[in-house]
Symmetry: C2
Subunit: 367 residues, 2 copies
């Protein structure tokens, strides 16, 4: 492990005081902001997430707000997913691509109203792309980063914890839908979503000043539910096949390579940037694609660079995320594999910094 | 100090193996990349930088490449600095602003040819803004992040070290000019520039494969010059008044607030984005501005959030960077102060996490 030099540039969040008090052990940096990654240990946090309930400071999922008469037109420009049937109250996972079909971000679009959207972003300054496009197209729309910091409640006891603070109506929120709730006289958007497969909610906290009161209220209410501070968990998210922008994909990749072709309605998403390139990809199919990979042997070291996947002497892909899974008793991994070797059951070798290991292409992820 | 969780998303560089071998103690994250910050200690590295010569892995100063017939037109769109008299072989510090005059980045523009530029960026995804503008304006230009990783040689013995590896011609490079040199049969752009006030060079290393050979050649050649791995030094850069994007300024600030008005030729930079807003600012002047601030008492804690500057009960500014300076025997700081209190000699109070301290607005920085 290495040390992180703190500075104002790595922004603290409205929940940072709570995170510090909960004994955070490690951070990563995400959208120029601190994202807590470890509280007890990656493995302890993992077991706890699957059994109880955690509060995650995911303020780093910054919002890009679109507001004004051209907001919906701009939103459809940005993504090959067809948004015509989307209603206010819904969240859509939307690949965002450039003119060549390369992924710029893989955010969740939150439709607040016909003329108002939040784009809840992964780790890249999508704000700059959206501002550039809006300005270049001379659109009538405000594009901004509002003072909104998501807080996630994740784990099997999420509904119980949330009901104690927000009432039973919170249980009725359907997956990737949101509703408005009140907290200390303020309105909060709460969605059933989150970056784990254990169920839960994301609370879009508008106004930094209610950050700590909300954090404390949830911690207080969940004491007998064994609530604990947590964060996106490396092991759990790989098991669940949750991709990470910057780790598993970059602007080199098309959505189809990332297995996100089902979110591209390139025929009907008229006007979207990258449509020409993606129509070609959709027709021919990608020549490499994201796969679940299991890696043999004992626990692999941290995966901080691409590990080549080999068939004999030939490189046929690379692993981008990997971790030891206690529950599945193997190393779980995410990799990009060429079509010649992407069938499930294909046996490959992977070059880790601690030597070459056997690797197997899996049928599905471990969820 | 806190731990940093490593992952592929926090990109390693062509020099990372050298950085590890040199015993790096801490990193920050900058443009989604690891930036080494501490080798021995911040203070030891500081003294050494001022006396000898250091090799810095500043790969995180990524390049945005503009290539094609509209490259120069796009470059002038991006900045209020008038580029008409700039020649190939020159580097310009260029504020980049949005349509409201807010700073998006403060990079160095490197003019390689009339139709080819590199923009050597501070910590924000300027690539996304430039791509968005180029696409929105339908310009005939390629915009890309090339495989170019800057390596800096900084400190009073920089000329001697560089001459050993590249010959005496390197001594003739003038400040903010560059020339081409050969290393192992490959061409390298070398500029006299860098993020310290101790003199030195930045080498634009094109092609990751020559990263470690170059690192090793410099380390080898400088052994009797006491060469050491280093990085941008918090104390030295505050003494020198070198601003840090994300720390001392954000997209909330105009260049004029940052004391960068001299780089804005808003009258003559016809066509630049933000011109309307900046003409207004240039006419009226900013109401707050960056100042050197000295803070009394013993060493301040790390400044990882804004510290309010107070005149009596009233907040009149904030400190964004601060460190104890052994050479000046005081805490040196950078802050933004309202015009009512920005005259040199003004006595204020600053609220640090370890209590309130006296602070003084300085005439100049400490260089």
């Amino acid at each position: 492990m290495v040390q992180l030099s703190l500075s104002r540039r790595l922004r603290r969040t409205p929940f940072s005081d709570g995170v510090d008090a909960a004994g955070v052990k490690a951070f990563t940096v995400y959208n120029h902001m601190l994202l807590p990654t470890v509280f007890r240990s990656v493995q302890e946090d993992y077991h706890h997430l699957k059994q109880a309930v955690q509060i995650w400071d995911v303020s780093c999922e910054r919002q890009v707000e679109l507001r004004g008469p051209d907001a919906s037109r701009l939103m459809q420009l940005l993504t090959p997913r067809d948004l015509r049937s989307m209603n206010p109250g819904q969240c859509y996972y939307v690949p965002i691509v450039d003119e060549t079909g390369g992924m710029l971000n893989d955010p969740v679009a939150v439709k607040l109203a016909e003329d108002r959207w939040w784009i809840s972003i992964a780790d890249s300054d999508l704000l700059y792309w959206v501002k550039g496009i809006a300005y270049g197209y001379r659109l009538d729309v405000l594009v901004d980063e509002p003072d909104v910091s998501p807080l996630a409640v994740q784990g099997p006891r999420s509904d119980d914890l949330m009901a104690r603070v927000f009432g039973d109506r919170v249980r009725d929120i359907r997956f990737f839908r949101f509703d408005e709730f009140e907290f200390q006289g303020r309105n909060l958007i709460i969605a059933r979503s989150g970056y784990s497969k254990q169920g839960g909610f994301e609370l879009y906290v508008e106004g930094s000043d209610i950050g700590m009161p909300l954090w404390n209220a949830l911690m207080e209410a969940g004491r007998d539910l064994d609530v604990h501070a947590g964060g996106p968990n490396l092991i759990e998210r790989i098991e669940g096949g949750l991709l990470s922008y910057g780790n598993d994909m970059t602007d080199d990749n098309t959505p189809h390579e990332c297995g996100l072709g089902r979110f591209c309605n390139t025929q009907t998403a008229i006007g979207c940037i990258g449509r020409d390139a993606l129509l070609r990809v959709a027709k021919e199919g990608p020549v490499k694609q994201i796969r679940a990979i299991s890696i043999g042997g004992d626990a692999v070291p941290p995966c901080d660079q691409h590990w080549p996947l080999l068939a004999g002497d030939k490189q046929v892909g690379r692993v981008s995320s990997a971790a030891w899974s206690p529950d599945f008793n193997t190393n779980v991994a995410i990799g990009m594999v060429r079509m010649t070797h992407w069938d499930s059951g294909t046996e490959l070798m992977v070059q880790t910094p601690q030597g070459t290991r056997p690797a197997t292409v899996m049928e599905t992820f471990w969820n």
